[in-house]
Structures are given as structure tokens and as C-alpha cells.
């Protein structure tokens, strides 16, 4: 069995394993309920195509903790510190999306280590949906 490397020890230039997932209406609906956003664009087919995937779904599913290779031991957690995000195209319900992640920087600030990742979400047609750059730090119960 392949041994997973601790996420907080992954360095600049390394990538996390990509995630692929399909967004169904039921999947999207779970997120509409969670963020209390019931706009018809997320439920109805329009002249532009199937319903739009709620952006919050695509953001949380492109957090690096969703990567199949993400691993932290019990007692250590990744906490989101900052984010730069660009929306490029709406995602559509029924499509399959792939997320890729790459570590682009590691730095220390006020004694805490930050790891910076770039993430890209594309759909099954190769259409870019969102680009993100975000900084995570790691909390442990031993601090």
C-alpha cells in the first residue's frame, strides 16, 4: 500500500492527487440547503444550459482536504487562512469536474507555517471553471 505523505510536509512544486467528481441535482441541492441560497439558476434548466452548480460547492470541493492523497494524522488539522479566487465560467449540474492542486509557496509568519496552493477546477469538456490560490495553516492539539 502506498504510504501517504503528511499534507503539512508537502513542499513547493509538489502536487496533490487530483479529485474527479460528478455534480448531480441531489448533490447541488445539499449545498443550496447548507448555504440557504435557493435561486432558480441553481435548480432550473435555462436557455444557457442545465442548472448552475452552486459556487460554494465547487469551492469546498476544491479545498485540498478533498484530494485523495491528502493525509494528516489525528490531532492535526488544516485551517484556511486566506484566499484569492477567480470565477471563469459557471459549472453546470450533470458535469464531471476535476480539481488539481499544486503547492507554490511555504512561508512562516508570526511563528506559524503557511502552505500556499494553487487549485484549478475544470469540467469534463476542459472548460476552466475556477482558479484559486489559498493559504492554509496547520493546527495541532499539542500547541
Amino acid at each position: 500500500m502506498e504510504e501517504k505523505k503528511r499534507a503539512d510536509q508537502i513542499g513547493v512544486g509538489d502536487e496533490f492527487k487530483p479529485l474527479t467528481f460528478r455534480v448531480t441535482s441531489e448533490f447541488n441541492e445539499q449545498y443550496l440547503e447548507s448555504v440557504e441560497d435557493y435561486h432558480p439558476r441553481y435548480r432550473e434548466v435555462t436557455e444557457f444550459g442545465p442548472p448552475v452548480v452552486h459556487p460554494a460547492l465547487l469551492v469546498v470541493w476544491s479545498n485540498v482536504t478533498r484530494s485523495p492523497s491528502f493525509y494528516l494524522p489525528y490531532g492535526l488539522a488544516a485551517v484556511h487562512a486566506w484566499e484569492e479566487i477567480e470565477y471563469i465560467n459557471p459549472g453546470r449540474v450533470g458535469k464531471t469536474f476535476t480539481v488539481t492542486w499544486k503547492v507554490v509557496d511555504v512561508y512562516e509568519k508570526k511563528g506559524r507555517r503557511y502552505q500556499v496552493k494553487e487549485a484549478l477546477v475544470v469540467d469534463e469538456d476542459g472548460l476552466q471553471i475556477i482558479k484559486r490560490k489559498f493559504g492554509d495553516t496547520y493546527f495541532s492539539g499539542g500547541e
Binding site: Y31, E36, H54, N63, G75, A77, V79, Y87, P90, F139
Partner: protein
């Protein structure tokens, strides 16, 4: 629907919808999909023991959840087209826990005419009941020429 037009002025304040953080919503957001026998997946957002083991005092809502509230405000402000070119930079500065109520807000800081319309820059944030800000940042959006 677009809530501002090209004539919107610097200083205009925008307020989104009041959101209530509940256990059910946090589980739905951070518990995974589909809902199998082990749902919700144990994380700092869904499991108190897991959160405490990681040094956090309480279960916290995911920052992506209240980032989504600001995104909703931007889409309601600029229209669905904000999902084609809209940008945000955010800093998460306080934890949010079940029971909190959050209000997303924005204020126009600058406006710049471009060939394709007017591009606005805004300060954006979410504040808790009592006014404490939990996420702060900036966003840009375009109101296109008709």
C-alpha cells in the same frame, strides 16, 4: 438580476441576506456527499472531539461556507455574469460556530470605465451578530455595456 448599474457611486453599501449557521447546515456543507453510513465525515467542522484534538475550542464552520455568502452577494449585485470574470481576495480572521448569524456586506471603493463597461472594486466582508467581522477582503465585478 443585477442590483447595480453603471452609474453606481463610490461609497454605495450593499447588504446580502442574513444567514444562520446550524449544525444541520454545517454537516451538509462539510460532511461530504453522498450521505453514507459514516456521514458526516469527521472533520473539525463536524466533530467536537476531532476539533478539540486539533487544538480548536469548538466545531467551526468552514470558511468556504461564509465565502459562499459573499459570492451570493456578488452574483446578486453583478448578475450571473459575475461567474465569468468575478474575482475576490479574502482573509479569514475569526471562527464561526453553529448558532452564529452572519450578514455579508460590501461597499464600492472605486469605479473604472472600460471599453466593455464599468469595473467596480469593492471591500467585502461578513459580520457576526454584534458586528464582529469574520472574513474581510476585496472583490471586483463588471457592469457591462448593454
Amino acid at each position: 438580476m443585477q442590483n447595480i448599474d453603471k452609474d453606481a457611486q463610490v461609497g454605495l453599501e450593499l447588504t446580502g441576506k442574513l444567514k444562520t449557521i446550524t449544525d444541520e447546515r454545517v454537516f451538509a456543507f462539510s460532511g461530504g456527499f453522498p450521505k453514507g453510513p459514516d456521514w458526516p465525515k469527521k472533520t473539525i467542522h463536524t466533530n467536537l472531539e476531532f476539533a478539540r484534538a486539533s487544538g480548536l475550542p469548538k466545531r467551526t464552520a468552514s470558511g468556504a461556507m461564509f465565502e459562499g455568502y459573499i459570492t451570493e452577494l456578488m452574483i446578486n449585485t453583478f448578475g450571473e455574469q459575475w461567474l465569468r470574470g468575478g474575482k475576490m481576495t479574502l482573509k479569514f480572521i475569526a471562527i464561526v460556530t453553529p448558532g452564529d448569524k452572519l450578514l455579508p456586506k460590501a461597499i464600492i471603493r472605486s469605479r473604472q470605465a472600460e471599453n466593455s463597461g464599468v469595473r467596480f472594486a469593492l471591500d467585502v466582508w461578513c459580520e457576526k451578530q454584534g458586528g464582529e467581522k469574520v472574513v474581510i477582503g476585496t472583490a471586483t465585478g463588471l457592469v457591462p455595456n448593454l
